[in-house]
Symmetry: none
Subunit: 412 residues, 2 copies
């Protein structure tokens, strides 16, 4: 028996006046999803807890059975996992921007004119950096998309109890990094980071790529500004925790980062854009191939588009994307055999809020052994009447693995 | 006002194809239970938490309001309570088998040919045991049923951080017990246990009962092999915790052990077999007598048969046993006065799984003051629609004692 959690990112919503006070999911024509709901058990879910507005990252952490309050030490580690850095418990990780400063370290542009060139040559130079007095600390840069990068510090006696260097606005000076606790580790890490930032300016300001940009009347990517510090947490590997051989199929680095953090394999999808124009045909083909032709027995799947429409406040687009997912993806999901399928969202992204909200999301479980209830439609209103009632994200893996008969009895 | 939790062990189930995709409870004809449901408040319950597959022991611990993760240190202490040993917090307890080894301590039979004789004479000799260097430690053996026994070590500086001696299979040597942490207490306890096991061989090998068995061509019960180590936890007595005078009516040593652990009185039932052929007439007479004619004001009741049918995968038998319990027991339960009655299960034992599962169980509360809902049948599907919604085992005693008006206001 295999298992799958299919997350439609940001699916949950609130009643929308121009949809006749229905939610986009409620208003959408979703015959395939509804058929699965009718033959499954339904309910609503708070990914973290009632009233807690989750990020996609913290929600997925909770859904995978980890406590986000314990393991989500900052965005840095999950960005580092996302770009495929092989980071280890105890590493200190940051997300970074390539930025532009003047020679008095006043920020001119936080994103270096949204630099389009491949930043690999800049990263290569940065990775040669040595800071006097900190020769025992490994300083690791890795590029991400566009102006984005990741910085990891590895070594003894480091701390994530430090402030940000990023002033978050232009025309302000770079912030000095301070320790936020009175410990020698925090003082050491803050001092090291200040020196790394200054040294990045020395490394980058006359780099050929930047001289070329200046020659083209573009602003140079002449400094790295780190933020979102976090210490990489020590956690039990997902496969070991649940006795599974797991894989993730997702469209965004953020979710892939969470999956890598949990130690899952990553299956890539061709033509994926993370948007409503993503190639859903390739997406469902990838799912079917993974389920039917690999040794993986658990899949975390994330389809992103609905969240984007939510952030854009576009109810019509959200509804139409849901209908497209129903037609292309769920028509085939319902035909899978020997798999327990969970369909849910990581959080609501109401078009009226244009951001995540804490409203619970619908959840359904379909497959062998479930106590089928009388819910006939999958949405924020109908799913409430189902047999699961109201559960939490942290319950999901336990319920799924129990239905897969993978759990161990606690006691006799 | 009195109170009662009546647990039908392993009652919960999943849809069964040959019962028309109904559960045994759903398919069963249970007019008396349904009448109680119709006049009560209903819901579903996770005895520990959603997705957690409970043992009968850990589920009952949770239902009685104790945290099984804190107090369930191992099976040993609960077996020791079950055989009626007066054990104390800090004691180290083991379940044991009388087993058969050869003179090189290779295990020949883990159950000494399922010895049928009364093992009291062996226990009597074992209880005279003194181990050199450990004269301050009390070594207490007590017999259980058949080849089973219990060992308790009492004294200062002992630990339950040790491995098992039981190889679990035959034709393997007895395992040496090792400490699982680097503490002098763990090292001391492991060393003592190794010496006790060896000494049990010296005590038993030429015991007259064994010489007699050998004369009859039976293998001797020539060693004791302990397993399931646990330290007896310190807990508040149940009666004190809830202001009650409680008693347990149950069929199995495991449940009676939990009740003794909580400090409850035990009321025995004549003719009880712990099986579907148990004497339910005597059972209900015992309940009625206890409720009407004793000073006890709370009863934990456990009827075992349905769980057995679940483990056997026998849907028809499970359904018929439920109907028998309805007819004999619930016809009279519904007539009791001045008592708040909770009917539930400790866990599901689906006939399709043949073991416990994490599926929630139905729960109903009947008696003065409850908010009667519109649920008309007591089962895994209908109870979901009731006024209790989804609760946990750990909520049960609090809800019950509140309805009994025994709780104290928290705050002003």
């Amino acid at each position: 028996m295999k298992g799958m959690i299919l997350v439609i990112d940001g699916l949950g919503d609130r009643p929308v006046q121009k949809l006749g006070n229905k939610t986009p999911l409620q208003k959408a024509n979703t015959p395939n999803l509804d058929k699965i709901a009718e033959n499954g058990i339904n309910g609503i879910m708070d990914s973290i807890a009632p009233g807690i507005r989750p990020g996609s990252d913290t929600a997925h952490i909770a859904i995978l059975g980890y406590d986000p309050y314990a393991v989500y030490t900052g965005r840095g580690p999950f960005e580092a996992f996302g770009v495929g850095l092989n980071i280890k418990a105890g590493d200190i990780a940051f997300r970074c921007n390539f930025s532009t400063v003047d020679d008095e370290f006043i920020v001119v542009d936080r994103r270096a004119g949204r630099i389009k060139e491949d930043t690999s040559p800049l990263i290569e130079e940065l990775n040669k950096m040595k800071i006097e007095g900190y020769e025992d600390i490994e300083i690791i840069f890795k590029k991400s998309t566009g102006h984005r990068a990741v910085l990891v510090l590895r070594g003894a006696n480091l701390s994530d109890e430090i402030t940000d260097a990023d002033p978050k606005v232009v025309e302000k000076p770079l912030k000095t990094v301070y320790p936020t606790e009175n410990s020698s580790n925090a003082k050491k890490t803050a001092d090291l980071l200040n020196k790394i930032i200054k040294e990045s300016y020395n490394v980058l300001k006359n780099h050929p790529l930047n001289l070329n940009r200046i020659g083209n009347n573009e602003i140079p990517a002449n400094i790295v500004i780190p933020r979102g510090v976090g210490i990489v947490p020590e956690v039990e590997e997902f496969n070991k925790k649940y006795g599974l051989n797991s894989a993730c199929i997702a469209e965004t680095g953020l979710i892939i980062g969470i999956a890598r953090f949990a130690g899952m394999d990553i299956i890539e999808v061709e033509g994926s854009t993370g948007s409503v124009n993503t190639n859903l045909d390739k997406f469902i083909d990838t799912i079917l191939n993974a389920v039917n032709n690999t040794d993986h027995d658990f899949f975390l799947i994330n389809i992103k588009g609905a969240d984007e429409s939510g952030h854009d406040g576009n109810a019509e687009e959200k509804m139409k994307f849901i209908e497209k997912v129903d037609k292309i993806v769920f028509s085939k999901i319902s035909q899978l055999q020997n798999i327990v399928t969970i369909v849910t969202a990581d959080h609501s992204t109401p078009v009226t809020v244009k951001d995540h909200s804490a409203d619970p999301v619908p959840v359904l479980i379909y497959g062998n052994g479930v106590r089928v209830d009388d819910v006939k439609r999958f949405n924020e209103i109908d799913s409430v009447k189902g047999g699961l009632l109201r559960i939490r994200g942290s319950d999901l893996m336990n319920i799924l693995t129990d239905l897969m008969d993978k759990t161990h009895k606690f006691g006799a």
